[in-house]
Symmetry: D3
Subunit: 176 residues, 6 copies
């Protein structure tokens, strides 16, 4: 099977819906953060696999802030798509909402980026198709991916802060 060398973000679009059951909640009846990150990992991994047509492993997870708590008996909606691919890795963006179906009310829970690496049959990294953004929103996510990658490398101890050109500009916007 041949895999196309270029993919669009919509090719990797995944929509997941889960129902919050008792075992997913803490003593306040709110969805536990760890359970949500578990579902997000599966949704994002499926999006990455749709992009690269290969098995993937989670390489890193960016900062996540949990906003409104999601309640017992509510639904969780996760929308995932690849924002940019590098040599053998892909960044996946997710939007997460809670929904109280009996109140007809939908609320933002969080937004997140997970990064995956594609593996060949020996479990070694393999090249992945390029991603060509189409909409304005997709282009904005594509452009921001470089900056987020520098943050990941610095926070993971694999790049020195002074080498991160994009971030340096961010912290010294007045510098000519």
């Amino acid at each position: 099977m041949t895999t196309r060398l270029e993919k669009k973000p919509s090719d990797s679009h995944v929509v997941m819906t889960e129902l919050v059951l008792p075992n997913d909640t803490n003593t306040y009846g709110n969805l536990m953060g760890g359970r949500l990150m578990y579902w997000m990992d599966i949704a994002a991994a499926l999006a990455a696999m749709k992009h690269c047509a290969a098995p993937v492993v989670t390489a890193s997870v960016d900062n996540i802030s949990f906003e409104s708590p999601i309640k017992l008996g509510n639904a969780v909606h996760i929308e995932a798509r690849v924002t940019r691919s590098f040599n053998s890795s892909m960044e996946v963006h997710m939007n997460v909402w809670g929904e109280d179906p009996t109140q007809q009310y939908r609320y933002k829970s969080n937004e997140a980026y997970y990064t995956f690496v594609a593996l060949d049959p020996n479990g070694k990294p393999r090249p992945v198709p390029s991603l060509i953004p189409e909409t304005e929103d997709e282009k904005r996510l594509f452009d921001g991916a470089l900056r987020r990658r520098q943050i990941r490398l610095i926070l993971g101890g694999k790049m020195k802060p002074e080498e991160a050109e994009e971030l340096k500009a961010l912290f010294n916007p007045q510098t000519p």
Copy 2:
């Protein structure tokens, strides 16, 4: 909170995606039918709750035929929406596909109808909004709902075959 008296099928649209894990499979590495019916029940219940803005219970499940087996490591996609509402019950239609993300291959698993009853705070049936179909496909599902309801009533022992006018015509198409 007031609930609109009429709803469209798209108002209750739910998309669920699950990953087939080892514990979901039989000794051939295929998704067990019971595990799939469990996920379908949750997807359909969420669709019904979106229609009626109230808690629901599963009242009945129509005949389901499982076509292509869904494999370990594949994704399951369930699309659910309400097809017609009766006094306090709603019929939900689902399309179910398997998807092998590494082979970029998507296949039909089955199609099904679940029926739910809306409950008031005392756990008694309560009225639900009407459903107004819009597309050709939605109208076809809406029209067929009466016939499927007669089958359910007959199979559940609550209607005699000779009282089912719609079905009688079906079995004697040549009758004037």
Copy 3:
């Protein structure tokens, strides 16, 4: 190993008991229909395997009506046995009860038919032993299996209503 060519319904008798835990229930503290269908699938598959001495897959599920809800903390009892075998498939009948052990109260939940196909080591359908009913009840279930099979074929789109001789008679009982 040789398998007997004929089996009795009692050879495939399976009794399963489960306890309804919090994660099995909806917001009213009632067992979710999907969770019950999952347990029924396992009980019925075990009955089918006892009949044919081979792995099986779920082929179809007949209409199920859920009567009394089963409560959190109650027991679920499922009794399954094969009612009739066809070339490579078997129909399994189940009776399902709930039981509140602290109230010494047992109540009917539903009755259902699941159909399974026996598989050979290559995952292809293989012949199964005949079933010889013994009791009056087993004979009644055996006789009804043909009619239920026609309904499955019609509802699955594999038979035209006017070809279903048994059902035609049912809908036109007065026809000579």
Copy 4:
């Protein structure tokens, strides 16, 4: 509701069947002992509740020896019934078998005794009905219950070995 003051062992008879799934097994594909003890606890608790018509808690578990391992894909059958009741506690005996349905082969896994205490609505121990054994087997289990109770009390540090008259005789059978 009145509860009878005397019960028979058959009144508390429970039959449970489970299928061994991948997550229940160790790296050799055998059912983990802890998973089996979990199922046995539920089967035995249901038997105890049927005897006393009240909620129960596990008080103790006697020595269990695991004989033949139960394999992935096999069924587990647990048969439980109360053997004797004391003031507010009940001893439950279980027989556990594995079954390979494709090989038509059933094998003994282990035999065990769990003890439960009945609770009143405040969570305090409450009296339970007496047990009247009927068959020879039930009488043998009833008689042995006293000796097992002494072992439990000694092993739990609540009785001194020299006070256990039944056991002393066991260790000095020749003593006049």
Copy 5:
């Protein structure tokens, strides 16, 4: 890989912490005994594997008395270590506590002994390293292991009471 022929109890020390979730509890909101025995089996198996550097299976479980119930939302702490090894088997001792983190309160739940057998690649028992106790507490557990082993053999029907020299002395302390 060579395995040392002698190990210390501290080499096999395992600390496990779990949170009691809704599905782990009975109707009183207390951790079910069977769920706790499941966790204990995993903690003890990990300790045994650390001692023998090989896969293990649960051979037997000694009498367990459950003292204070562990509540929903509390933590469970299990500390396991090998107390003595025999030819191909190892006895593991565990201390189990509950902890209410919001009340800063820690309480003893139970103490237990599980026995494991080490397996070679064919699933047959294989020799395990000796255990050399170091602290007073470890020596006490090491010495008691022989007596507990006789109890296991007698209760498992593999030794006659009158052959158990250690236990005979226990039941007749005054005998010269």
Copy 6:
């Protein structure tokens, strides 16, 4: 109950051990990242609750890089402790290792920071005790907590990069 106004990192020390079972792994037999983040959330929440003696919710998760994959059948060890507290929130640091008990081999998986908010009985944030670091390592983690907090606030859109004095210095180390 009164809660001490100052706590040491060792007061909140939690050690968790889990066994990687089939359902926790992807198609390569490696622990899924989402499952690990779930366990980490529970370990970190228990550490935070030990610090503040109150229920907590996950507020945010810092960047996590997954290094060596953890294999099926291996153990996961998570060590968590609070590094610094703010008004009503606490940062928890975790070290995560995998361990192959049959190979006597232990390897680093990742290191992470989760942040939790303490809640009063109405579900509103409440003050938490101060943390007084003691060892060199604890002081280093305590000092870094301010910088990590600025990163969280910037990445969560709650602080402008140019306001983050600590980070500005990091990106322009040569500035006087």
